[in-house]
């Protein structure tokens, strides 16, 4: 891949946002007019523990360059204990991704509350910059299923 392609690379970041905290946090970032790059796609889920690790793998297969799973801080879960399960699950799956050769900078789990609009902005911006620096995800991809390639390489 040429340097030019990496320079022009705009990553696609998928954010699984918990309805009760992170989605409200993202909303707060918006109503507070906090700026962040437009590379994120926010997908609202009822609880961070709704996010099956398969969803994350699927995203990487289909050409997403980075995934953020975000939910309420431990102890604040709307369903009392959901995020404790998320924590166990994603502690394991983060390590498994690394074991499979997916750069661990592409996949993050964060606790972002409804009051943490600035944190949402910060986490997302940092992640986009990081993924931009390491380039498009070429691991785990199911290219047969990706109709439009993200980057033109042969110019």
């Amino acid at each position: 891949m040429s340097n030019n392609a990496v320079e022009n690379f705009e990553p696609k970041i998928l954010v699984f946002a918990c309805n009760w905290c992170t989605y409200a946090g993202a909303d707060l970032a918006g109503t507070s007019r906090l700026q962040y790059p437009p590379n994120v796609r926010v997908l609202r889920v009822p609880c961070s523990c709704r996010v099956n690790p398969q969803f994350v793998l699927r995203a990487f297969q289909r050409g997403i360059d980075g995934v953020l799973v975000a939910g309420c801080h431990p102890g604040d879960c709307h369903y009392t204990t959901g995020n404790y399960y998320t924590r166990r699950r994603f502690l394991l799956i983060t390590r498994m991704m690394d074991y499979m050769g997916i750069d661990s900078r592409r996949f993050h789990t964060r606790w972002i509350s409804g009051a943490e609009g600035p944190k949402f902005q910060q986490v997302v911006t940092e992640m986009i910059n990081e993924v931009k620096a390491i380039g498009p995800n070429d691991k785990f991809r199911d290219d047969a299923k990706i109709e439009v390639k993200a980057v033109e390489t042969n110019e």
Partner: protein, 294 residues
């Protein structure tokens, strides 16, 4: 060996004649010297089919699932790993312990039939991979026992092979797994043999759900591999049957052992298949679990 075999036949005969069991699950000699295949015996006249040798590798506990809707009383012969598998199935409420009789057989390690198939007759055949690392050669729970206990040859879990992969760089890891899973033909033998993979409806049989597919390519196969490993995380009893039945020789236990290793380091040592009640690491939590996501 032959003493145990004679005892097995005697026990099977007694159980069938007295009516305490209507079916006995054991092993019989297959077509090749390195084949010992499962056998289902319903009549006392057939008990001489039963054998016990160094190739009785296959775990019979998973067959008990086939009897959950029958009136049968099933007696099964079980090695150490098989009794852990049995506990796993009881724990998952997939079999009714009241309808089964477990006859424990201490095992001193089975030989690797895949290697035996390629070894000239008479030459030494190594132990099966999972048996080399076995810590529970003796039945952990059984209704009656044949033979005397053996001394376990391993006392601690061996993660050296997992650590070897962990030490590689990201590109090498990705290349390694891509190569391994390019060989997968999606026969689902690993799933079918696995005592922890005991769902009535496997998600991989529901391709219409849209987020898992039956496509056979490296990406989908890895997706299958990781997902299966994750589904048995905290429940895998390390019998290594998945790897033993894999026609493509994919090192599936490397995946399962990675999860076992991480569960041990993150949430405390856990031994699956020793109890039939209580929680497993992934359906429970501790408020004080490691926090990396702040």
């Amino acid at each position: 060996m032959s003493n145990i075999q004679n005892e097995m036949r005697a026990v099977a005969k007694e159980l069938l004649e007295s009516g305490k069991a209507t079916v006995v699950l054991g092993w019989e000699k297959g077509t090749m010297p390195y084949d010992s295949t499962p056998v289902m015996i319903r009549s006392a006249a057939d008990v001489d089919k039963l054998i016990w040798d160094e190739y009785c590798l296959q775990n019979l506990s998973t067959y008990l699932i086939d009897f959950i809707n029958t009136e049968d009383k099933v007696a099964i012969f079980a090695k150490g790993c098989d009794t852990r598998a049995y506990n796993r199935l009881v724990h998952d409420r997939r079999i009714n312990p009241k309808n089964s009789i477990v006859i424990g057989v201490p095992c001193s390690g089975m030989k690797n039939p895949k290697v035996a198939a390629k070894t000239p007759e008479g030459a030494e055949v190594p132990m099966a991979n999972a048996c080399k690392e076995c810590r529970y050669p003796n039945p952990v729970a059984c209704d009656q026992k044949i033979g005397s206990d053996v001394t376990p040859w391993c006392t601690a879990k061996d993660f050296s092979d997992v650590e070897a992969i962990e030490a590689m760089d990201a590109d090498a890891k990705a290349a390694f797994w891509k190569e391994q899973y390019s060989k997968c033909i999606r026969c689902y033998a690993c799933r079918n043999i696995c005592p922890a993979c005991n769902c009535t409806n496997c998600i991989f049989d529901q391709s219409a759900s849209g987020w898992c597919s039956k496509d056979v390519n490296a990406s989908e196969n890895q997706f299958y591999g990781v997902t299966r490993a994750f589904h048995v995380a905290g429940r895998c009893i390390e019998c290594g049957q998945c790897e033993a039945v894999c026609p493509s020789d994919i090192p599936i236990m490397l995946m399962n052992k990675k999860f076992i290793k991480d569960i041990d380091t993150l949430f405390g040592n856990y031994e699956a298949g020793l109890v039939t009640e209580g929680t497993t690491p992934l359906n429970s939590y501790q408020v004080a679990d490691p926090e990396e996501f702040m």
